[in-house]
Every structure is written in structure tokens, then in C-alpha cells.
């Protein structure tokens, strides 16, 4: 299996110097909290809930739905947090940051709830298609991922507001590029290039 070339080329030098940092100074307090939740620590779970539940609710509310009563968002908070409790013991801080992990759970629950709203059933399992964690990733990929997370976190701070806006619409509101174009009254090409520019700035685009 070929290693991700662009990542390798771009960050081999960085890897050598920051391998120590990546292991020791990852500033992810929520990873430690999740570790406590894995041991059925209800106080830790309460902390995690106080921090993430309002965000997950906002994520649910941003979903384009005919019904804006907030019922969908509340259900999403419940379902997501119950899964966080149940799966906390399988969270691996070496693979992904706590917010990444919680996002994947909330995203899957959103897919699931939307599917139920549309009364779709079917045999396909959402967590099989969108795995919560990358089981195939080895130590090298895990390290790359942690370095990527840190780089993205840094460069996100300096992202121009217009680029941040389209990213929020694509990833939080789940809108297609053409829906974003309609909402912002922009040509589709402008939306696409904004997203491209944002991705380049965050160094998320890999050469293929």
C-alpha cells in the first residue's frame, strides 16, 4: 500500500522534529476526559456533556429541515452522547482528537436520524460505511493524523472569514456546493474556488 505521498513529502522533515511534541504536548484535554468516561466516570461525562452538548445541538439545528422546533437537535444530542458513553472505551487518543471522534459520532447519528425521518430502512449499516475510527491506520498514519490535526487547528485561526463561512456550510450544515451558492447568492464557481482555497490553506488537499 502506497503511503500518502503528499503528506509524506510535505511533512517528513517536520515528523523528525515534532515526533516528540506530538506525543507529549498534544493539548487535547478532552482526550483525557474521554479516558475517564471510559471508566464509567459520571462526573467526567457531565463535564464532557456541558462542553459538547450545546455544540452538537447547534450542529443539529443547522441541519436543513422543514421542522425547526429543535426536536431533531435534542434527539441528536441524546443519541450522540449515549453513544459517546457506550463507545468511550474504544476511543484511541493516538488515532484522533476527541473533537474529531465526537464529530464522527454526531455525523453518523445525524445520518441515522435523517434516514429515520425519511422512513428509509435497508440493510446497510451506517457505522460500517462511515467507521467511527480508522481501524486500518497503523502507527505511521496515526502520527500523520495527529500532526495534521495540529496543523489544521493552527491554520484555522488565520482562515479568512469568507473561506471559513463556506467550510461551516459544507461540513456543519451539510450543504452541497450549489446550495451554498444559492444561499450566498454567489456563482457556483466562486463557492468551489473558496472551498479549494480554504483546503489549500489548511493543506488538506493531497496530490493524486
Amino acid at each position: 500500500m502506497a503511503l500518502p505521498r503528499a503528506f509524506t513529502a510535505a511533512s517528513t522533515r517536520a515528523t523528525v522534529t515534532s515526533i516528540y511534541d506530538a506525543k507529549n504536548s498534544d493539548t487535547d484535554p478532552w482526550g483525557a476526559v474521554l479516558h475517564c468516561v471510559a471508566k464509567q466516570d459520571r462526573a467526567a461525562f457531565g463535564q464532557l456533556f456541558a462542553h459538547f452538548a450545546p455544540q452538537i445541538k447547534a450542529f443539529g439545528l443547522s441541519t436543513v429541515l422543514p421542522d425547526r422546533s429543535g426536536q431533531f437537535a435534542d434527539e441528536l444530542v441524546q443519541e450522540t452522547m449515549i453513544t459517546v458513553w457506550n463507545k468511550a472505551s474504544s476511543y484511541d487518543a493516538m488515532k484522533a482528537g476527541a473533537s474529531t471522534w465526537i464529530f464522527t459520532i454526531a455525523r453518523n447519528k445525524r445520518i441515522d436520524l435523517l434516514r429515520k425521518l425519511k422512513r428509509h430502512s435497508g440493510m446497510l449499516d451506517i457505522d460500517d460505511i462511515w467507521p467511527i475510527e480508522d481501524e486500518a491506520a497503523g502507527p505511521f498514519q496515526n502520527l500523520q493524523q495527529r500532526l495534521t490535526e495540529r496543523r489544521v487547528r493552527e491554520s484555522l485561526k488565520t482562515l479568512p472569514p469568507a473561506q471559513r463561512e463556506v467550510l461551516l456550510m459544507a461540513f456543519m450544515e451539510g450543504k452541497s456546493h450549489s446550495e451554498i451558492a444559492t444561499d450566498l447568492a454567489l456563482p457556483l464557481g466562486t463557492v468551489k474556488s473558496r472551498i479549494r482555497l480554504a483546503m489549500q490553506r489548511l493543506q488538506l488537499i493531497l496530490e493524486k
Binding site: M81, A98, P131, M172
Partner: protein, 231 residues
Amino acid sequence: MNYHPGHDLLEQYAAGTLPMPVALCVSVHMGFCAQCSAEVNALQALSGMLLEELPGVPVADAALHHVFARIDRVDSNTQIADARITRADDVLPAATGAERSSTAAAKVPKALRKLVPGGFSKLNWLRVLPSLRIATLDAGCDDYSVMLHRVSPGGSVAMHDHRGLEFTLVLSGSFSDEKGVYTDGDFLLREPQQPHRPFAAQHEECLCLAVQQAPVRFTGFFWRLLNPFLR
């Protein structure tokens, strides 16, 4: 492997907005491709950070208690359920050693395991053309058909076109058409008005996952008669 889903598809996959059958193809591809997996992992990390930065919307005071109540209610039933899952997993993989074809030997990717519970050879294969067998999978989706295509060694499928998008993921073996040669893990997207004529490699059978937005349309007169079989 040379053919990957584009950045847009990976973005929609990470955001969770791709229709499930299309996400299925992307997911299976990622099992073959560390590069696309890394890109999706990075997009998910970005999403996690965007989530953390969302202006939070207060939840009801009782929400945490509701969660604990549901956890406690489930707890008493969990042990029984766990035991059941373990037993089901034990029974599942039972590999069929008798068959030698590459299809029988091909490992069922995790994303497909619910649709292909007993392995590829156990599916209900329908011979629709001399060199093509099809198994239709029940993905529970009206807008897309999800099928497995099995093309005999050296076999070809007539020139055909599609009314909607067609996603093809090579699971084992290889095939070629006017545009290239595709091997396991390759992800192809064909748009309507791109008629093509696939050929399987001479030495082995080719197994593909095929997801189509609308039924296939063969371009020749004779093949039009066969179209009902290719639903």
C-alpha cells in the same frame, strides 16, 4: 490502483451528505487506499474543530439526566445483547474452501458485510449476458441500484450508456475500457453520455461493485431488448 474519488466526493463523504450507496463505494475504496483515508481523516478533524467552534445552543437542564436515565435502562440489557453479538460473529465468516474462483476468494469489505453475509459466492447470481453475472443487493434505496458485477475472464459487456451516474469499484480482478485499465480498489465515476465497453482481463474473473443512479441503457438496438434484465 490509480483511480480515486475526487476531492468533492471525499468532502461530501466526510460531511455525511453522500447518498448511502455512493458513500458505500467511497468507503470500500478507502479500505484499499491509505491516501484517501488520510484525506477523509483530515477532513473529519477539520469538522471536529468547526464543531467545537460553533456558538453553542443551550440544552435543557434535564438533558443530562435523560441521558443517564437511558444509559441506566440500557445497562441492564447490555450483557445479554453482548453475548448474542459474540455468538453471531462466531458463525459469520465460515469461508467456503471448495470454490476456487477469485470471486469466492475475495474478502467481503466491512462496509458490504451486511449485504453479503455469507460471502460473494453465496449470492443469488443472475446470468444476464454470456460473460456477465449480476447480483442485486438490497440497499433499501430507491434512487440507486446497488449491484455486484461478475465478468468472466476475457469477457466483455456490450457498449452501453447510463441515464444517471454510475459508480464502479473494482473488488477483485481487473477490467479495461477505452480509457484505461482498472484494478482492485479503483474507483470510477461515469456520467451519462459516456458510452463505454468494458472488458475483463484474460486471466481472471473481475468482480465489481456497481452503483447506478438509474438503470443502464445499452446503445445498440439488440441490447435495448435486454435492458429489462439489467434493472
